[in-house]
Amino acid sequence: MNEASLIGLLVATVSFGALLYLAALGELLAEKAGVLNLGVEGMMAIGAVTAFIAGVELENPWAALVVAMISGAALASVHGFFTVALGAEQVVSGLSLTILGIGLAAYLGKDYVGLPPGAKLEPVQWGGLSDLPWVGPIFFNQAPLVYLALVMGVAVSLVLSNTRLGLALRAAGESASSTDSAGHSVLGLRLSAVAAGGALAGASGAYLTLSLTPQWAEGLTAGRGWIAVALVIFGAWRPGRVAWGALLFGGTLALKTRLQTFGVDFSPIILSMLPYLLTLAILLAISVRSRKRPSPSPTALGLAYRREER
């Protein structure tokens, strides 16, 4: 294994990690407010296709990113409307959202398949920092969305733990009725969290079509949205831990095929199972531990709130 290969592995780890982190962070927000949204894959697909279309039509990558985030939020709001406003079953609605999102993305993108990208978000250059050995290519020559993921991670973490809004949001996920009694709008909090989560999933999708794999074709997201859902559990609903999990899962994604170039003969199929096996292991650990300590999952996660049923 040469130095360039090892650096390449770490570059890909950070890059894939950020892709997963953006989507996972969005899911974390929604779940913290008590709404499970299994539609991440669909929202990513919509983000990816709308970013690509906007890129071709507007030829401005930043405008394309905004379009993708708005589209992701809009699709998420469909889930929000059904589960939060109407109290529909969250698992069913979320799964429908995935199917709807993938199908809608295929429909919208039909005329854009096989087109070269109209706009790309190129790697950011940080002057001398980008030229440093090792850290330069790994941390200071990444796509803008990698830094956005970092900023959003810090922001979400700060908002959740240090602000009134964050407190109210978490309360809505723990006990909707007491949040309601305290004078907060459970409906408003949950809808906003779900929409914000959709925007982040949309950004994750945009990262694909604007930087990582600048093209559009059906199936582009290839199940990464599900890894994002798993990551939230893996990271025990904490933004910091989810970040480490994202790097770990991103690393296995990068290692999946790269192992071969290191001369290691190991099935890439086993490696692609690794994130899910790790998640199962964590779930097991959580359930064993929660006999003694409370589970880290938001207490009201998945439960609809209707005031009159209090």
Binding site: S5, L208, T213, T257, D265
Partner: protein, 359 residues
């Protein structure tokens, strides 16, 4: 009682169907239906088939229809085919390996419908044949271009799954590389994907990190080309001319051209003289071809490749001609021996000079 009546009705209707089918000599209303494994928007395999379908519709004037993204190994395939037949379609073309056994059974059940299966090997005597292409011919030529282009002497091959079709492509490519540049090496990286741009792009990146300056591939995405473009390396794509995605990196591509074969099948069905064959199309009949070579490639290289192309079409050059050793140095073909089709179709070994394992 009710179910008995229903069954009786079904038999009558079925019988009526069969009788009209037998009685009708008028093949003027031939209609061809295509079943695809992927979305027509995949920019690769299925896209190439749909280009062929549109070409055939234009050339024959026959009504065509398609259904996309039909998974292998489920009841969906047979259901779609029955639907098509109920609507009067009498030519069914399935474009994925996994449809093979379903098609064989359906061909037996509907003797008046022509079934043609792409990429399989089973057939019957009356209405079920198969079609594929000698993609190894243009693969060999694309290898020559890659071999003549590489400066570092290392070429990365981003490969899909270790099955004979893919392995045959890698081997033909490598023999082409060696014909142009005996010291160049081809290293294989398996992705276990047909379409996952993130993984395919990253695998190409891994080979670029390792020092490869030309990337070849066997998936349906253009991700490998984008990485080559960004790294200032070169790229041999697959399925169709993908030069628009990486204009500076693009060298050439072995490509499919299904249209002429589809015209042939539909015309035969229309004339009522379809008879099943195991059709393995070649550069000679145009089923496979080499995309135009990038304009910055040296004219002497282009001349060499075009000469080899003419020799293959004339039948004077076969990429798999001995002496040929496998990866471990065991002799596969003696001097002057040409590999037979059966060996090529079941190829599960790498030729000498390929770095990597077949699984």
């Amino acid at each position: 009682m009710r179910s008995k009546i229903a069954a009786l009705l079904a038999v009558c209707v079925g019988l009526g169907f069969a009788l009209t089918g037998c009685g009708s000599d008028d093949k003027a209303d031939t209609k061809a239906a295509f079943v695809y494994v992927g979305p027509v928007g995949d920019a690769g395999w299925t896209y190439a088939h749909d280009v062929g379908r549109q070409y055939a519709e234009e050339k024959t004037g026959v009504e065509t229809a398609y259904v996309e993204a039909v998974p292998e190994g489920t009841a969906d395939f047979a259901n779609y085919v029955r639907d098509f037949i109920d609507q009067g379609f009498n030519v069914i073309i399935g474009t994925s390996f996994g449809y093979m056994d379903d098609m064989l059974a359906l061909a037996d059940e509907y003797p008046d419908v022509v079934f043609e299966h792409v990429s399989g090997y089973k057939m019957n005597d009356t209405n079920f044949g198969n079609t594929f292409g000698r993609m190894y011919e243009p693969r060999y030529l694309s290898g020559m271009v890659a071999g003549a282009t590489t400066q570092s002497g290392l070429i990365g091959y981003v490969a899909a799954f270790p099955i004979p079709e893919v392995i045959r492509g890698i081997n033909a490519f490598t023999l082409g590389v060696q014909a142009a540049n005996p010291s160049a090496q081809v290293e294989v990286i398996w992705t276990s994907t047909w379409f996952d741009p993130a993984v395919e792009g990253d695998s190409a990146q891994a080979m670029l990190d390792k020092g490869a300056d030309v990337i070849a591939m066997h998936q349906d995405s253009t991700a490998a080309g984008e990485k080559a473009e960004a790294a200032g390396a070169r790229w041999v794509s697959y399925n169709s001319d993908m030069s628009a995605f990486a204009p500076n990196a693009f060298l050439t591509a072995p490509v499919w051209n299904w249209g002429p074969r589809y015209v042939e099948i539909i015309e035969a069905a229309k004339a009522g003289n379809y008879s099943p064959t195991s059709f393995w199309g070649s550069m000679a009949d145009g089923t496979v071809d080499l995309a135009p070579i990038a304009s910055d490639v040296d004219q002497s290289v282009v001349d060499m490749v075009m000469e080899a192309k003419a020799a293959i079409i004339a039948g004077d050059l076969h990429p798999f001609t001995g002496p040929l050793n496998d990866q471990d140095g065991n002799q596969v073909l003696g001097a002057g021996e040409v590999m037979d089709d059966g060996t090529m179709l079941g190829m599960m070994f790498f030729v000498e000079g390929v770095i990597g394992s077949t699984g």
